[in-house]
Symmetry: C2
Subunit: 127 residues, 2 copies
DNA sequence: GCCTAGCTTGGACTTTGTCTAAGTCAATAC
DNA sequence: GTATTGACTTAGACAAAGTCCAAGCTAGGC
C-alpha cells in the first residue's frame, strides 16, 4: 500500500493540465475538473497540483502576485513573456543560460538552482 | 489645490521604505508605520504604496505568489536572488541586458518593456 | 471480500488585498 | 488669519486565493 494511489480525481486533474490550455490558475483547473467529475473539491485540486509540482511534472508560475498559474510544460526549460495589457502568457526560449549571467561575486555564497525570467511588454492586440 | 498632498501618513510610509530594511511586504510596512503613527490605516498604506509604484519611486516584486514586496531601490536596474530555504532576498546585478537574450522570433510581435530575473538557490546558512 | 493507509470532502479559517461611505485636513484664495 | 474645497484617511465590510481539519470513503494489497 505504499506509493501514489491513482484516483479518479488525480486522473482528472492531470488530464485537465494535459489539454491545450496552458497556464491555468488553480481555480480554472478546478472549474474544468468539475465539468468532468462534478463532486471534486477545491482542496483536492490544490493537493494534487501541489503533488504534481513536487514530482516535477508541473511548474508553478507566480507572475502577477494574484493567483499562481500551473504550467504543464515542466520538462523543457523555458521562460515567460507576459502582456502588461491583457495578461496573456507565452512560453519563450531565450538564448543562453540566464544563470550564467550572474557572476560569482554576485552570488553571495548561494548555491544556485535556477533562474526564472519574466519578459513584460504589450502584445500586438493591446498596442 | 492640484497635485500631490504631503500628509503625515505619506511621509511615514516613505520613511519606512527609506530605512535599511528592504523588500518589505505591505503588512510589514504597515507594522513599521504604525509604530511611528499609530492611527495609520492599512488602506492608506496600500494606497500610498500603489502611488509610489505608479510614480516609479518603488518597485513591486511578486516573488512567491504570496504577499507582494516593495523594493525602494527603483532607480537602479537590478534583479533578485532568493533563498529557497529561508526566503531571504538580495539585490544582484547580472551581466548584460536580459532583454537582449530574447531573439526577435521569440517576441511574437510584443513590444518589450523589460525583464525580471529571479535567481533561486540556497544561501550559506540554509545549506 | 476485508482491511487499512492514504485520499477526498466540505466547510471553517487565514492571508492578502480592495472598496466604500463618512469624516478630516492641506493648500490655496481671499 | 480664515474660509473653502477637493483630495486624503479611516474603519470596517468584502473578496480572492489558499490552507487546514475532522470525518468519511476507497484503491490496492492480502
Amino acid at each position: 500500500m505504499r506509493g501514489w494511489r491513482l484516483t479518479a480525481q488525480r486522473r482528472v486533474v492531470a488530464e485537465v493540465l494535459d489539454g491545450d490550455h496552458v497556464h491555468l490558475t488553480a481555480d480554472e483547473v478546478h472549474a474544468r475538473a468539475v465539468s468532468r467529475l462534478p463532486e471534486i473539491s477545491r482542496a483536492t485540486v490544490y493537493n494534487t497540483l501541489g503533488e504534481l509540482v513536487t514530482l516535477g511534472e508541473v511548474l508553478e508560475v507566480a507572475t502577477d502576485g494574484r493567483a499562481k498559474r500551473y504550467d504543464p510544460n515542466a520538462h523543457q526549460a523555458h521562460q515567460h513573456l507576459i502582456c502588461s495589457g491583457c495578461g496573456a502568457i507565452r512560453d519563450v526560449h531565450p538564448l543562453g543560460d540566464p544563470v550564467a549571467a550572474l557572476p560569482a561575486d554576485q552570488r553571495f555564497g548561494f548555491t544556485l538552482s535556477g533562474a526564472e525570467v519574466t519578459y513584460r511588454g504589450l502584445c500586438p492586440d493591446c498596442r
